[in-house]
């Protein structure tokens, strides 16, 4: 039984490591900031979850360690979308625009006009 749990935990750790490296490589292969954000969020979500799950299987009866691992996982999963959203919105306000592909709908192309340089900073601050 313990061999099974060990094997499972090692598999999860290795898979998590592989996904973290994939996220890192994605941060170099993707062309612009907004697509890189997705590569980074791969590490945040599945990579972190797999590594921490792998560690949880190794706690060996120390429940305090288990609780802390669960807390770390929860913090990462809760803060990651908030951070990504704040980052994307800040980049849009700073005037950065995503490179859009061929499938872009014409009727949605004006969506991003409300951000950034056309707005004066005062009106933005009032809105919040």
């Amino acid at each position: 039984m313990s061999e099974l749990i060990d094997g499972l935990s090692w598999g999860l750790l290795l898979l998590g490591g592989f996904i973290c490296v994939s996220g890192g490589i994605g941060m170099h292969r993707f062309p612009d900031f907004f697509s890189r954000m997705h590569a980074a969020s791969v590490t945040d979500t599945l990579g972190g979850t797999l590594v921490l799950l792998g560690l949880m299987l190794q706690v060996d009866g120390q429940y305090l360690v288990l609780v802390k691992l669960v807390l770390v996982l929860l913090f990462i999963l809760i803060t990651s979308p908030t951070g990504s959203h704040a980052l994307a919105k800040a980049a849009l306000h700073g005037g950065l625009r995503p490179k859009l592909g061929s499938k872009q709908d014409e009727k949605d192309a004006d969506v991003l006009n409300n951000f950034g340089r056309t707005n004066t900073p005062e009106t933005d601050k009032n809105k919040e």
Binding site: S35, V42, L71, P81, K89, D105, V111
Partner: protein, 162 residues
């Protein structure tokens, strides 16, 4: 400053903070437990002064179906992660970014927040902004937008608050 009906939120905050203290310390002798009680009382007092002890910080109205929703979201998360990792190894030609408006049927701010955060948490789609009833979503490819327009996630989030 409305502070009515905040009693159950304070109780819930005390329980959550005590669990975090006990989970992190692991000692049950008198000194550390009383230090914990003082810390919890101080934090609750500060939160009360800041007027943040409400249904926003303690979403008690969200039903127990959140557990089922989390499991479903986890399954979704794994699928979209595999999708994005595949695109990373296939190289930059495999992505085709799209920005689109996604209509939501969420009535409350909490529902909108849960929905928007779920969209952002799954790799491949990111919520950029909320305009009234529509979310502005950036996706790595049109598949993600198509999936969101299907509305399954929207329905599931909406059911959480019934």
């Amino acid at each position: 400053m409305k502070k009515n009906n905040s009693f159950r939120y304070i109780i819930s905050l005390v329980i959550v903070l005590s669990l975090i203290w006990i989970g992190n310390s692991g000692y049950f002798n008198g000194l550390l437990l009383s230090l914990g009680a003082v810390s919890v009382a101080f934090v609750v007092f500060m939160a009360y002064r800041l007027d943040i002890v409400d249904e926003e910080s303690q979403p008690l109205q969200v039903s127990r179906r959140i557990i089922v929703y989390w499991l479903w979201l986890l399954k979704n998360l794994i699928q979209s992660n595999v999708n994005v990792v595949k695109r990373i190894w296939q190289g930059p030609k495999s992505i085709d970014p799209v920005v689109a408006r996604i209509p939501t049927s969420q009535k409350t701010e909490m529902g909108q927040t849960i929905y928007a955060n779920s969209i952002t948490l799954t790799p491949g789609t990111t919520t950029l902004d909320i305009e009234g009833d529509t979310l502005i979503v950036y996706a790595l490819s049109y598949d993600g937008i198509q999936y969101l327009l299907g509305g399954e996630m929207d329905r599931r989030v909406k059911r959480l608050e019934e």
